[in-house]
């Protein structure tokens, strides 16, 4: 049953993959650009990996209409984003706000990068210290010399 629903949802989401085109008249190119920007940055909650601009789900159409209304009425970007977040939560934002719950999301990758780089650096240093070119000590040199001497006396091995 759930499989069937998923399959149907998928077909709805991908059936018309071409970007949705609404004929919304704008009185200025700035407003149109703002509308485009907003519908690209807000997530469609039905087809979760599509933004509102790409999705043709009914909800996406309704939400685009809502964005159009607000933009046409002269509201700014912040107002539209706040409107969506108040109803659907941070999840609608493809660029979630930086707050205590999203710190890990924003800083995590960089922290991991720094951690990885530091680990790598330490490992390389340790290895260089362990098997780098090192002068033989007097004792070792003597031992080597004696080995070479015995080898010479015994002659080449068959």
């Amino acid at each position: 049953m759930t499989r069937l629903i998923l399959a149907m949802l998928l077909s709805v989401c991908t059936g018309f993959a071409a970007a949705a085109i609404d004929a919304y008249p704008f009185d200025s190119p700035e407003k149109e650009a703002m509308f485009q920007r907003l519908s690209q940055e807000l997530r469609c909650l039905v087809c979760q990996n599509q933004n509102l601009a790409d999705s043709n789900a009914e909800l996406a159409q309704d939400l685009r209409r809502e964005i159009y209304r607000m933009v046409a009425a002269g509201q700014d970007e912040r107002a539209v984003i706040d409107f969506m977040v108040a109803r659907y939560g941070d999840f609608v934002l493809y660029r979630p706000a930086v707050n205590t719950t999203t710190y890990v999301l924003w800083i995590g990758p960089f922290a991991l990068l720094v951690l990885g780089a530091a680990t790598l650096l330490i490992m390389i240093r340790n290895r260089a210290a362990a098997d780098g070119d090192r002068e033989l000590s007097a004792e070792e040199r003597q031992h080597l010399q004696s080995l070479l001497n015995t080898a010479r006396e015994e002659g080449p091995h068959p």
């Binding site: 629903i5 009914e58 909800l59 309704d62 809502e66 109803r87 659907y88 939560g89 941070d90 999840f91």
Partner: protein
């Protein structure tokens, strides 16, 4: 020195735990920011009588109520319908309906055929009120306390399991708060 070889193992186990938690979550269940907020203001015509309205004030009953978002085109709603009928029959809780993006005739025909568990349904033809409620996948059910605050949102068809484990205890808790 030997413990160093355990570091990758610890990492691996940590990763497995994260995956187990992550894969157990349902990505379709987006937590609602409306929890513990007052119900969004609305005034909609009633499904059965367009001349009468159902308003947000009607949901502030002094006791818990359910608001069930439904539509005749929604197949998953058929799945939970018998359960809603059972709830209405038991009279444990008042159930309101929000008929979402539907045709009046279709919705009424369905209620006539399968039974009407709602004391009243609001008729949200264009889905504008649904947006204010953060509706994104019908059916959804909101649990509203006596002061008109949303206390819980259930996404998807109501099941006996969810009712027993989550909603019923919450109802008992909310009712106990008032005493």
């Amino acid at each position: 020195m030997k413990a160093r070889f355990l570091i990758p193992l610890v990492f691996f186990v940590g990763l497995i735990v994260l995956f187990l938690i992550g894969l157990g979550l349902n990505p379709r269940e987006v937590p609602s920011p409306l929890i513990d907020k007052p119900v969004p203001e609305f005034a909609l015509p009633r499904l059965h009588d367009a001349n009468q309205q159902l308003r947000s004030a009607d949901l502030r009953q002094g006791d818990v109520v359910l608001l069930n978002v439904w539509a005749s085109w929604c197949t998953a709603c058929r799945e939970e319908h018998p359960f809603l009928m059972e709830l209405a029959r038991r009279g444990e809780i008042t159930v309101y309906g929000l008929n979402y993006k539907d045709e009046r005739s279709e919705a009424l025909r369905l209620l006539k055929r399968d039974g009407d568990p709602y004391v009243a349904s609001a008729f949200d033809h264009d889905g504008r009120v649904g947006i204010d409620w953060g509706v994104y996948g019908v059916p959804e059910t909101f649990l509203i306390d006596g002061a008109g605050r949303i206390r819980h949102k259930h996404i998807g068809p109501l099941s006996f399991h969810a009712w027993q484990n989550k909603i019923q205890p919450l109802i008992a808790q909310i009712r106990a708060e008032r005493k």
